[in-house]
Amino acid sequence: MDEMESGVVKKFMFVNRKAPYGTIYALEVLEMVLISAAFDQDVHLAFVDDGVFQLKKGQDTKALGQKNFSPTYRALDGYDIEKLYVEAESMAERGLTEADLLVPVEVLSRADMGALMNEMDVVLTA
């Protein structure tokens, strides 16, 4: 495909703001992220607001009758997607710490997250 051979590398950021279940956004963002890996772009994932719950350890969706897709976050490094950022204030507001998360992340303050977003070429939010 031409776009894969174009050699253009842009900074993409996928911003996750929603809880993992209740709406389909988190799951379909993950599908976008996995496809983006095929394009050799500089991919960043941000988790803010209720989006921080997407990375919580010990998700059990049996009672919901929905697929637990949280193990996919652990597989992202296999796609060379390793830049995961979590907003400190969003975690604190929800009583979470880094120890509650199922993958290694970089924790950023709200201000630093804003500054990082500002450096991106393409920001996709859900």
Partner: protein, 119 residues
């Protein structure tokens, strides 16, 4: 400017489709290029093939189709999101085509701006 558009919400239920349409029309009128419109999440329902909105209301399906017909705008519906919601190849409103998420990433790479419409 070369602009890519991402529509994340279904028609009527949400303002996103109307606003994206108005944005496209305004950008084209100013001489910009709408390089591609990509429909994702419930946005794929903008391509519903047998929708019949009340005749005293705007027809968003028709307006998208006219944008494709008159201005050659590439309207792409995500295949995976479409299959989840009953929109598939050969069964869309006129003017739309079905393809993969790679088309969205490509728009991000190729366009000067990628503008999202949705919450």
């Amino acid at each position: 400017m070369k602009i890519g558009i991402l529509v994340n919400e279904g028609p009527y239920n949400h303002q996103a489709s109307d606003t994206a349409l108005n944005f496209c029309k305004a950008a084209l009128a100013k001489g910009h290029t709408i390089w591609r419109v990509f429909f994702y999440y419930d946005g794929v329902l903008n391509a519903a093939p047998r929708a019949e909105p009340p005749t005293d209301d705007r027809n968003l399906f028709k307006q998208w189709g006219e944008l494709a017909e008159k201005h050659g705008v590439d309207l792409v519906v995500c295949v995976a999101a479409g299959l989840r919601r009953g929109i598939r190849e050969g069964d869309t409103a006129p003017g739309f085509r079905i393809s993969g998420l790679g088309q969205l990433i490509e728009a991000g790479i190729q366009c000067d701006r990628l503008v999202t419409f949705g919450d």
